[in-house]
Symmetry: C2
Subunit: 409 residues, 2 copies
């Protein structure tokens, strides 16, 4: 586990020390001084405040090296909580994580559908209030809400270009509206970036590498982390590999382009191809239909297998492009569609990378499937909030900050 | 002009203050204190040492605000020099830049060709010795050498996967060999990354943006800068957009992939397509032949125009992919092939971006042609060295450092 920026002036000593305590599990003040390179008085003052605020507790006593035994410090995981909300057309997923990163509640409700955004926001607020009350978390222990949505986001307006099924959300002031309704600070991010932070946060990523979470829900995107910091780009819209073009004469995409990976090989495209091929589908939406195809392919049904292998070929080529552009060391497949079909995509991606990754003379690219792929976006939402509290150098953009402030580097 | 990391602990006060003086042109100690947020005693001590080392000189006097007139400080541009060498099959380009970034010498010699790498290294060393002696630069004013080569590089071995015409260079310890032969510190980078740093360094890039230099020589690559820091990836091989796949059934590429942009639309591909179409070409190599086609297209010759427009379409789609993955704000076309044909590629790239750039709801992508496109790699080589001296936070990887140390972020 690396500790971004420890000892550097960019991170508050409080956040740095808190993060070291969290990562260590149990640690003494002396060890904190050694690990962080902060002075003993600084460590002592910061620890005192963390204890006063209830974030850290003194527990038992460590091994003595002679003289008086050391008091050990631990994070109190139940001192604070973060809520993650994944807002999508087909479903809204909620998780509550404690300060230690453990998920203490997770549930799913009907999606935004075609409801008016203000109505959906009211629904989200009521849902959170009810659950927080039911499981008995005091309100002042809630750090905030990480709201995760598909599509490009903007600090001031929410989604600037919503995917087709969520057109009503374009230009809707998502963060402000939820902040007002819930009464908690809100961090906003897209599904893939949140999933990448969640993966890093939950220990699913090796240390110190350039890493991408490939997120496949109803669309395809990537969240990029470099040495633990999110690469966001100019307007927090980096990682849009679903809109890499793989066929100049390919089908039109909702983004305005042509032959995009998403239009050729995304779940909606696979479902449409299955329908054209006359395959029987449940017909309750892309997620369900794609799940149906993935299960059939896993059982060895030839037509669904062929469709998914074709999709995997395109996704593999896009992943190869992403790896070449970013010189990645690691890719994790995540999101609900990879939760279902990741094992079919994984070998195809691995094969393309081992054959053609440009920097393969220097290093390979590790590819795996996330252990919490189904609810990766909601877990990522909670991770956004925890990361903002514990490692502010890499915090997601707060809604009142200008885009420039969030550039990686 | 932004000053990466000023006041931060990651940058030495010396480099930060030197960079502010350089960017300001003329500045007083008081203004330095205001701009950098260093304390007056720190500024005073650092400036004293810079003057002792001959890097900074006291000049005239600024406007007085009452009391004694202020002494103004300026960089002595002739205090130090940096050499840039662009090593390529067809030609070796040299530039010498002074500390202020001005190019004081530039010349070109026959390329590496099929000569043995040690012989070429001996040739480079002799060339540099002769020119430095001829123009009368004292050796202790030479900061170092930035050596720029095509293809993936590795800290320890030089090019790990050289392009076809430079196969002999694979695994050759380029940096060490040149360092031994020339007797100066050597920084190694690929052409596109060096060109990006050169562009930033010479003021060709707006402040605080995610930016890529698209470099087209005989191949195509991109150098990526985020807020003034190079994005390098895991092994300094980021930005390989020449090996984004645009056609799964396309022609085989030397990298091991299929349908790569470079294989479909790079200068070598365009020249091969011209030959297949029966067009007459000088036949003295790809650079010359591509130059011939570019000039013919500029004169309006239909067949060369059609070939270049087809190439521009592919390059535009790859650029769009790069912009989507990195959420770029700015792209500069550079390198010898864009020096010749950039004006044909520019409108095609602009059109694709304005129609399909994913984050266009938030911002556009500015596209331009570099003002020193023909020798961008050699200028970049010198910029590597100047940047290492003046802004060490963003310095390129020194050959003795592990790859991990150079991750952006």
């Amino acid at each position: 586990m690396s500790h971004p920026g420890i000892g550097g002036s960019h991170v508050s000593s409080r956040a740095a020390i808190l993060d070291v305590i969290r990562a260590a599990g149990t640690i003494s003040r002396v060890e904190l001084t050694q690990v962080t390179a902060f002075s003993a008085p600084t460590v002592s003052t910061v620890v005192r405040r963390l204890i006063d605020d209830g974030l850290v507790v003194e527990v038992g006593q460590g091994e003595s090296t002679g003289g008086k035994p050391r008091v050990m410090l631990e994070l109190d995981p139940s001192a604070r909580y973060a809520i993650g909300v994944h807002l999508d057309h087909a479903g809204i997923t909620y998780v509550i994580a404690n300060l230690g990163g453990a998920i203490v509640a997770r549930w799913r409700q009907p999606g935004a559908g075609f409801d008016e955004p203000p109505d959906v926001v009211a629904r989200v607020a009521a849902e959170i209030d009810a659950t927080v009350a039911r499981i008995g978390i005091e309100r002042d222990r809630l750090l905030g809400l990480g709201v995760v949505s598909p599509g490009p986001i903007s600090a001031s307006t929410g989604m600037t270009l919503a995917p087709p099924l969520m057109r009503a959300w374009t230009e809707f002031p998502l963060a402000t509206a939820i902040e007002d309704a819930v009464g908690l600070p809100v961090l906003l991010d897209n599904d893939a970036t949140a999933a990448a932070i969640g993966e890093y946060w939950s220990g699913g990523v090796s240390t110190g590498t350039a890493f991408a979470a490939l997120y496949m829900g109803s669309g395809i995107g990537a969240g990029i982390l470099v040495d633990g910091s999110v690469y966001r780009g100019t307007s927090s819209n980096a990682g849009e590999i679903g809109h890499i073009c793989l066929d100049l004469d390919g089908p039109e995409c909702w983004c305005g382009g042509r032959g995009c990976v998403e239009a050729l090989a995304g779940p909606a495209a696979v479902v449409a191809q299955a329908r054209e091929a006359g395959l029987e589908l449940p017909g309750r939406g892309v997620s369900d239909d794609f799940a149906h195809l993935a299960r059939a392919a896993a059982r060895g049904a030839p037509a669904p297998m062929a469709l998914l292998e074709r999709s995997a070929g395109y996704v593999a080529v896009a992943t190869l492009g992403l790896c070449n552009v970013l010189d990645l060391a690691e890719v994790v497949l995540t999101g609900p569609s990879f939760a279902l079909a990741g094992s079919l995509y994984l070998p195809v991606i691995q094969e393309h990378l081992s054959r053609s990754f440009f920097a393969r003379g220097s290093h390979g690219v590790r590819v795996g499937i996330s252990s919490h792929a189904p609810e990766a976006a909601a877990v990522g939402g909670a991770a956004l909030v925890l990361q903002a509290e514990l490692a502010p150098r890499t915090r997601p953009r707060l809604k009142s900050e200008p885009a420039e402030a969030s550039l990686a580097g």
